[in-house]
């Protein structure tokens, strides 16, 4: 019950961050400094994902092993994407 306020706070934060991502594009940062904008947008997506997984999916209250299971899949995705993309550089 007490968590309703927490969930609401997380929801508002997610809403704001999503808007900020479009803001990065709207202010023309992609044209001015592409890598900075790319990094910023990616970081904001990661923050949002961690917030949803951590609080909406309750990962922070689950045994840490559950987080590791999800990280296993994520590391697999990173390994495939990074190594494959590097292989054609």
């Amino acid at each position: 019950m007490a968590r309703t306020k927490l969930y609401t706070g997380i929801y508002v934060a997610l809403f704001v961050i999503a808007t900020m991502q479009v803001g990065v594009e709207q202010i023309g940062l992609l044209e001015e400094s592409y890598l900075l904008a790319l990094g910023l947008i990616t970081a904001l997506s990661l923050i949002k994902a961690v917030m949803v997984a951590g609080y909406f999916q309750h990962l922070v209250w689950e045994p840490r092993s559950v987080t590791y299971v999800m990280l296993l899949g994520f590391v697999g995705f990173l390994a495939l994407t990074v190594a494959a993309s590097y292989s054609i550089q």
Binding site: Y11, L30, V52, Q57, P63, S65, G76, F77, L80, A84
Partner: protein, 843 residues
């Protein structure tokens, strides 16, 4: 005559078998039983029998290949046409790798693993049956593909661009790819089940460290399967999209398209080698221990080595790609990782050899096959080192060296599993096989195999998958063809021996093997329906079967975590009391399998977005509609069915104590979905890199509709959470209202997306129309966001079901778990969108 009361080798004592009937299941002689059963032992037998059928199917194709290669041929000569030969080669590989070896191991895993860990069934019995029926459905599709023009004919690796309709236009080829999709789904369902079972349903006192080696090997196998097959599923789904919808991922004109396929395929393909071999390795380890009377030497390091191989298997895949255009630095890196993965294997082989040296070997049939498997694996491993070196691989790749090496490795796995077949045959059937015939079969098998494949090392200059070769190789190929016939005869001997023994063999004791140490030998042969005559426990240091009124000691065994699951132990014990409490029968897994066949046959007719004209097209369209309706109906009925299964959490649950079975199953499924989406996203990133990162612009002309959809999904995630809060407050109206809002938000997301797509398809005054095949940019956008939309639609169907249940009063009486489990899925769909939105709308 079974003997349930003989002393056990580990100090425990088997109690008389229980008197349970088959828990509402029809008798074994009834066909109906095999259609409805969800019991792990029945499903194991179904897997074993079906896999044996596919062994014969793939074996006949192999004999056709060897007949064609009796002499060097020009196209049109010999018993096979060029196209028929290509199909035989391709389908032999696919059938043996996918439809024989892994399912054969899964059969043993089904039967043996629950017995070894002290579980009465798998965590999700109906999903176990579903996994089998999907496997059979996929096999039927492969069979059907031969009758739809032509089956797939481009090799089992399905390399691009040969795999697209321009070069492989037959409907049968599409059906083959659909069969692999269905097979991947079956593997995922099975993987979730086994991972949950082994982690959560071990008997008290059975820690991970003391887990039997076969169960260890299966646990690592299913983890590898879960992640590797998700990558393959992504690859074949993309391929299907190219074939059925007209996207252009693997088109010859797409920059990086063919290399993308090799990355996706081999990211799965190399772990697949260990997925195939590990179950055999586990069986070999058990057999070595039993037939030498000696514990495996360095057991702890043997397990550590298996874990290392499982992890390393995901960082060696590019050694299959040394002849592609990948750069030299990455080739060198993957040569090093390939050398690295051989080190833990060396340790395991030495452990097996040293176990032989230290023990007193009894050369019974299982031991002969297990020893043979080790010898074949050593030869396969050594010859593989050549292919892991970049420079040597330039010479050997695409030749019969690869064919010979590959078969030594894969068939060493088969040999290990045949060892397991003879080892566990008495347990499964309650009959002893004929020992003399068993030994003869091994002699014929080992001779035939080496006569078939060793000459191929000497004829290595023969190009792979081609029936023409230089005349000087003729003697070696003749020898190989003779060896193929002898190997085929050995399988007939094995089948004859086992079939004869089932009918007229001597009855097997509960434990026919001196020095066996695992729990399956502590109960009658075959085991009773509920497996154990009491609650199995290792808490005292050796296996005991506790009476229902005795404490299990479970809480102490898992750091007290099972105290939180205390209700489950009670549930289990009450199941023991009446034997009829737990369900073992359901029609719906079979029905889902049936309608999967119908749906897949229907959609196989879809080519670049449309069905063929005339009666043929009507047939395919009708089958698609009928299949989809049947599938939705069957899944709904299965969801609604009242089915009681054994719960876990009464014993060892590390490292998932306190996470109930269904929740854990959902998390494990989501981990595989991370890889699935990850492979789709990775494919889009890879193609963008190949295309030129900054030359690639978003397909949607405006990010605002995407932002609106982000708001919609985020809000729907919030309302799902609110439904859970309302359930905890026992507010029925609150639950229903929250779920209805979630449904409406999800629906709004889809409508917004549909409008966006329609605008893109039709074009505007400012922008030209865009279709799936307009460019690879368009293909990645439509397919990746389309996959996400598919997930949203699935979520909405579940939401509608939850609303109906909540309306009727569910979830507000402390039974809100389904809302939480659905929330895990829905939030995951939300998370994926949080990455897709910037990727396809902003950057």
């Amino acid at each position: 005559m079974t003997d349930d009361t003989q002393p056990r080798t580990d100090g425990g004592t088997a109690l008389p078998g229980d008197s349970h009937d088959d828990g509402h299941l029809p008798p074994r002689w009834s066909l109906k039983r095999w259609l409805v059963t969800t019991n792990h032992k029945d499903v194991g037998i179904l897997y074993l029998a079906t896999a044996m059928f596919f062994l014969i199917f793939g074996g006949v194709l192999a004999l056709l290949i060897r007949a064609q290669m009796w002499a060097p041929r020009a196209p049109g000569e010999g018993i096979l046409s060029a196209m028929a030969y290509n199909q035989a080669v391709s389908l032999h590989g696919l059938i043996m790798v996918f439809w024989f070896i892994s399912p054969f191991a899964t059969g043993f895993a089904n039967y043996i693993v629950p017995l070894q860990i002290g579980a009465e069934d798998l965590a999700f019995p109906r999903l176990n049956a579903l996994s089998y029926w999907l496997y059979l459905a996929s096999g039927i599709l492969v069979f059907a593909s031969f009758f739809q023009g032509a089956s797939y004919a481009g090799g089992w690796t399905l390399y691009a661009p040969l795999n697209i309709p321009a070069f492989m236009p037959s409907i049968g080829a599409t059906t083959t790819v659909l069969a692999i999709v269905v097979f991947c789904v079956s593997i995922t369902v099975g993987g979730v089940n086994f991972i949950t079972t082994i982690h959560r349903m071990r008997a008290p006192g059975l820690t991970m460290r003391s887990l039997p080696l076969f169960t260890w090997s299966m646990l690592l196998t299913v983890w590898m399967m879960l992640l590797a097959f998700a990558a393959l599923l992504a690859a074949v789904m993309i391929l299907l999209s190219d074939r059925m919808l007209g996207t252009t991922y693997f088109a010859a004109t797409t920059a990086g398209g063919s290399v993308l396929w090799t990355h996706l395929f081999w990211f799965f393909g190399h772990p697949e080698v260990y997925i195939v071999f590990f179950p055999a390795l586990g069986a070999m380890a058990e057999i070595f221990q039993t037939f030498t009377g000696n514990r495996i030497v360095g057991r702890k390091w043997f397990i550590v080595s298996m874990v290392l191989v499982a992890l390393q298997s995901f960082i060696v895949w590019m050694h299959h790609m040394f002849l592609t255009s990948i750069n030299l630095e990455v080739k060198t890196l993957f040569m090093a990782t390939t050398i690295g993965i051989s080190l833990p294997f060396d340790l395991m082989v030495f452990a097996l050899i040293y176990t032989l040296i230290k023990g007193r070997i009894r050369w019974d049939t299982p031991m002969l096959y297990a020893f043979g498997a080790m010898v074949l694996f050593i030869v396969g491993g050594i010859t593989g080192v050549f292919l892991g070196a970049v420079v040597l691989d330039y010479e050997f790749r695409g030749t019969y060296w690869v064919v010979a090496h590959f078969h030594y490795v894969m068939v060493s796995g088969v040999t290990g599993l045949i060892a397991g077949l003879f080892y566990w045959f008495p347990k499964i059937t309650g009959k002893m096989y004929d020992e003399f015939l068993g030994k003869v079969s091994f002699a014929v098998y080992f001779t035939g195999f080496n006569l078939l494949y060793f000459p191929l090392f000497l004829a290595w200059g023969t190009p792979r998958r081609v029936f023409a070769y230089r005349p000087e190789y003729l003697p070696w190929h003749r020898l190989a063809s003779v060896g193929a016939v002898i190997l085929g005869i050995s399988f007939l001997l094995i089948i004859y021996n086992l079939a004869k023994s089932i009918v007229a063999g001597d009855d097997a004791a509960a434990n026919p093997w001196p020095y066996s140490t695992t729990a399956e030998w502590a109960i009658s042969s075959p085991p009773p329906m509920e497996n154990f005559p009491g609650t199995p426990s290792y808490a005292s240091g050796s296996l005991e079967f506790l009476r229902d009124d005795e404490p299990t000691g479970a809480a102490a065994a898992d750091g007290g975590t099972t105290a939180t699951d205390g209700g489950h132990a009670a549930a289990l014990e009450s199941a023991h009391d009446d034997g009829g409490h737990v369900d073992h029968a359901s029609y719906w897994p079979f029905m889902i399998g049936l309608f999967t066949v119908v749906t897949s046959i229907g959609f196989s007719g879809l080519q670049t977005g449309s069905f063929p004209s005339g009666l043929e097209g009507t047939f395919y369209a009708a089958a698609s509609v009928l299949g989809v309706i049947g599938l939705i109906g069957s899944v709904s009925f299965m969801g609604y069915e009242n089915f009681t299964a054994h719960e876990g959490g009464f014993g060892e649950t590390w490292p998932f104590g306190g996470v109930e079975n269904t929740k854990m199953g959902m998390w494990v499924f989501l981990a595989s979905d991370v890889v699935l989406f990850g492979a789709f996203i990775g494919a889009a990133i890879f193609l963008r890199v190949a295309y030129g990162w900054t030359q690639w612009h978003p397909i949607p002309h405006n990010p605002i509709p995407g932002l609106v959809n982000t708001y919609l999904l985020l809000t729907s995630s919030f309302t799902v959470i609110l439904s859970l809060v309302a359930a905890q407050k026992r507010s029925r109206k609150g639950v229903v209202a929250s779920l209805v809002v979630t449904f409406l938000l999800g629906l709004a997301f889809l409508v917004n997306k549909a409008i966006e797509w329609v605008v893109l398809f039709q074009g505007t005054e400012e922008y030209a129309p865009i279709a799936l095949d307009s460019s690879v940019r368009a293909s990645t956008y439509f397919l990746t966001t389309g996959l996400h939309m598919g997930h949203v639609i699935a979520g909405l169907l579940v939401t509608a079901y939850l609303i109906w249940r909540a309306w009727n009063g569910a979830y507000v009486n402390g039974d809100d778990e389904p809302l939480e489990y659905f929330g895990l899925y829905w939030h995951f769909v939300d998370i994926v969108w949080l990455f897709l939105f910037p990727m396809f709308y902003i950057i």
